[in-house]
């Protein structure tokens, strides 16, 4: 026995103090407290892997037409059935996940970056704040889907236009969260201290204030991820989002709605996969919120 009678090995403690393992330990503790979050993470990781490596894991081409299989119900040949021209619905749903997840990921990233920047500036400079907040209020006065549709009418539907449009619509909501975090941090003594020793505004903003807004921002980013996927699906469902050439969950559903009576599976499966993914993201978001932002978890 080499361990001391103090019950722990001092070397282990020293190792555990490294930043990498500290995050790892925190992360594991968070998962342990939130079994739901594990479920969400597993679903997301499985699904992302499936979409990324779809070429190797899915045996059908999502655009291959097989008229003989037209309206074939779900079974051994086509797991999710076949659509109106005999395309494999399972392949279309998996490939469609690429577009949907790309939209969700890009929107969450852009909204976070834009929201952080505008929110930090707005929260820290009262003069700009008044103007910026009124603009944000105005954008938020439009129901999200309506503004997104109007902007699509202006720009036209494509994957990147859909990403841009949802980013514009969602950014004010992130700005509001960052700003309120900034307002509560701004009056802290260490900010006064930093100002006192002559730190430039950019350093105060990005080195001292920004890190303290991270918890709510990370939590909200996961919700924006999920919400963006739903908005994309709504736009494509209305026939005004992703053009029908690229399968996305929304436009597969949109096509399936005409054949609900003969072939419910065309609309059922993309919706089911969409719901499961949004649910998984929300579970991860709830888990992160409970772990990082205990104040929020009490209010919602």
């Amino acid at each position: 026995m080499t361990t001391s009678n103090r019950g722990f090995n001092p070397n282990e403690v020293r190792q555990a103090k490294g930043v990498g393992s500290r995050i790892y330990i925190q992360f594991m503790r968070m998962l342990k407290k939130n079994p739901n979050m594990i479920i969400g993470l597993v679903i997301l990781i499985l699904f992302t892997t499936l979409t990324i490596f779809a070429e190797f894991l899915v045996k059908y081409d999502p655009t291959a037409i097989e008229p003989i299989d037209r309206f074939m119900p779900p079974g051994a040949k086509h797991w999710f059935g076949a659509d109106v021209v005999g395309r494999d619905v399972y392949a279309r749903v998996i490939y469609g996940g690429r577009v949907s997840l790309l939209v969700g990921f890009m929107v969450a990233t852009f909204v976070t970056v834009a929201g952080l920047f505008i929110g930090l500036v707005s929260g820290y400079t009262p003069k700009l704040d008044i103007v910026i907040q009124r603009i944000m209020d105005a954008i938020m006065s439009f129901p999200t889907l309506l503004l997104a549709l109007a902007l699509i009418a202006m720009l036209g539907g494509s994957v990147w236009n859909v990403i841009a449009v949802i980013t514009i619509v969602d950014t004010p909501r992130m700005v509001r969260i960052v700003r309120s975090a900034v307002l509560s941090v701004r009056e802290q003594q260490y900010i006064d201290a930093a100002r006192g020793i002559g730190a430039p505004v950019s350093r105060i903003l990005f080195n001292h204030i920004a890190p303290n807004t991270m918890a709510p921002v990370i939590v909200q980013a996961t919700y924006f991820f999920a919400a963006a996927i739903l908005t994309e699906a709504s736009l494509s469902f209305l026939g005004l989002g992703i053009p029908p050439e690229d399968p996305s969950w929304g436009n597969i559903l949109s096509l399936g709605r005409k054949y609900l009576q003969q072939a419910f599976w065309i609309a059922f499966f993309p919706g089911l996969v969409l719901t499961i993914n949004v649910l998984a993201m929300n579970l991860v978001g709830d888990g992160l919120r409970d772990a990082l932002d205990p104040k929020l978890s009490r209010s919602v």
């Binding site: 439009f142 999200t144 309506l146 549709l149 109007a150 202006m154 709504s234 059922f268």
Partner: protein, 319 residues
């Protein structure tokens, strides 16, 4: 209180001003000539310069943008929102024909959400950490993730196509067709629209009730021997109703988004479907008119919610 209302109401003006600028800019920034939209893609090549000029003159788009903006905004104040590019009917007339269907859909959705969501939240909060609580919360998480159009398909498939209880789509007016027909047609759209808000309201009610139930005065009320019913109704629910009021404002905005989808799926002739059609046709005066109506009503609903909130909780007025 009066001072708070005045201050809060004044804030509406700059917001609506920016709303109108955003709405107006969308048409100005759209690529392509609106005259070409009216003529339809290919015809513009055959139309003479005079014909195009005449159309532009009729539409008033040959004037400078500032002048166009002012006359458009002026029209908004007297209820004149421009004319559709295609049918040349006035937008206000079109809206007046569609508004009943939209209000019916939104109200039935919100009614279902409140009538079922609030009791679910109360039950879950009261019986915290029991199986009742857990099943309500599972429902709340699920209801939030299900996209409206997919829920609608499942409802139509089961209740209309398989069981035949409700019609697949359409709308009947409460005034002209009577309450029974109205309810038969509005039930599935109402559920479609209401489920997400039901989930949200149940969650909010639960969490605020849980918080209130841990307060000292609730313990006092119980200690002095009041029945559980009185404690719950007289003391807890009153305090717990605050966040629910705020949620109604949120729900209103979300309901407008939801009604776009719901009206499209169920072929309800309302403003949401009108908006989708206008976007498809690039009928910008209709898009602008509807955006202004939706945004303005959202701003005023929020104003009302804020005032109501300040009335219920005096602390808000002084912050």
């Amino acid at each position: 209180m009066g001072k708070y209302i005045a201050r809060r109401t004044l804030l509406v003006i700059p917001v609506l001003f920016i709303v109108s600028i955003i709405t107006f800019s969308i048409m100005q920034l759209a690529p392509g000539d609106p005259a070409a939209i009216v003529l339809g893609g290919d015809y513009i090549m055959y139309a003479t310069a005079e014909e195009i000029e005449e159309i532009r003159e009729n539409m008033g788009i040959n004037r400078p943008p500032i002048e166009q903006y002012l006359s458009w905004l002026g029209g908004f104040f007297v209820g004149e929102l421009g004319k559709s590019l295609f049918t040349t009917e006035s937008v206000s007339l079109l809206v007046s024909q569609k508004i009943e269907a939209t209000i019916s859909t939104v109200l039935s959705g919100i009614t279902i959400a409140i009538v079922l969501g609030v009791p679910m939240g109360i039950l879950a909060g009261w019986k915290m950490n029991t199986w009742i609580d857990r099943s309500v919360m599972v429902f709340a998480v699920l209801g939030f993730a299900i996209p409206g159009f997919w829920l609608a398909f499942n409802l139509i498939f089961v209740f209309s196509l398989k069981l035949g209880w409700f019609p697949v789509f359409g709308f009947r007016s409460l005034m002209t067709d009577g309450p029974i027909e109205f309810l038969r047609y509005i039930t599935l759209p109402g559920i479609t629209l209401g489920v997400a808000f039901m989930a949200l309201i149940a969650r909010m009610t639960r969490s605020s009730l849980v918080e209130v139930l841990s307060e000292d005065y609730i313990r006092t009320a119980r200690a002095k021997g009041l029945s559980e019913r009185v404690v719950l109704i007289r003391h807890a629910l009153r305090a717990a109703s605050m966040p629910v009021v705020t949620v109604i404002g949120l729900v209103f905005a979300a309901a407008v988004t939801g009604t776009v989808i719901t009206e499209t799926v169920f072929a309800i002739p309302g403003m949401g479907r009108m908006f989708v059609k206008a976007v498809g046709d690039r009928d910008f005066p209709v898009i602008q008119g509807l955006m202004m109506i939706f945004a303005t009503s959202y701003v005023f609903v929020n104003l009302l919610v804020d005032i109501l909130y300040a009335y219920l909780d005096p602390r808000v007025r002084y912050s």
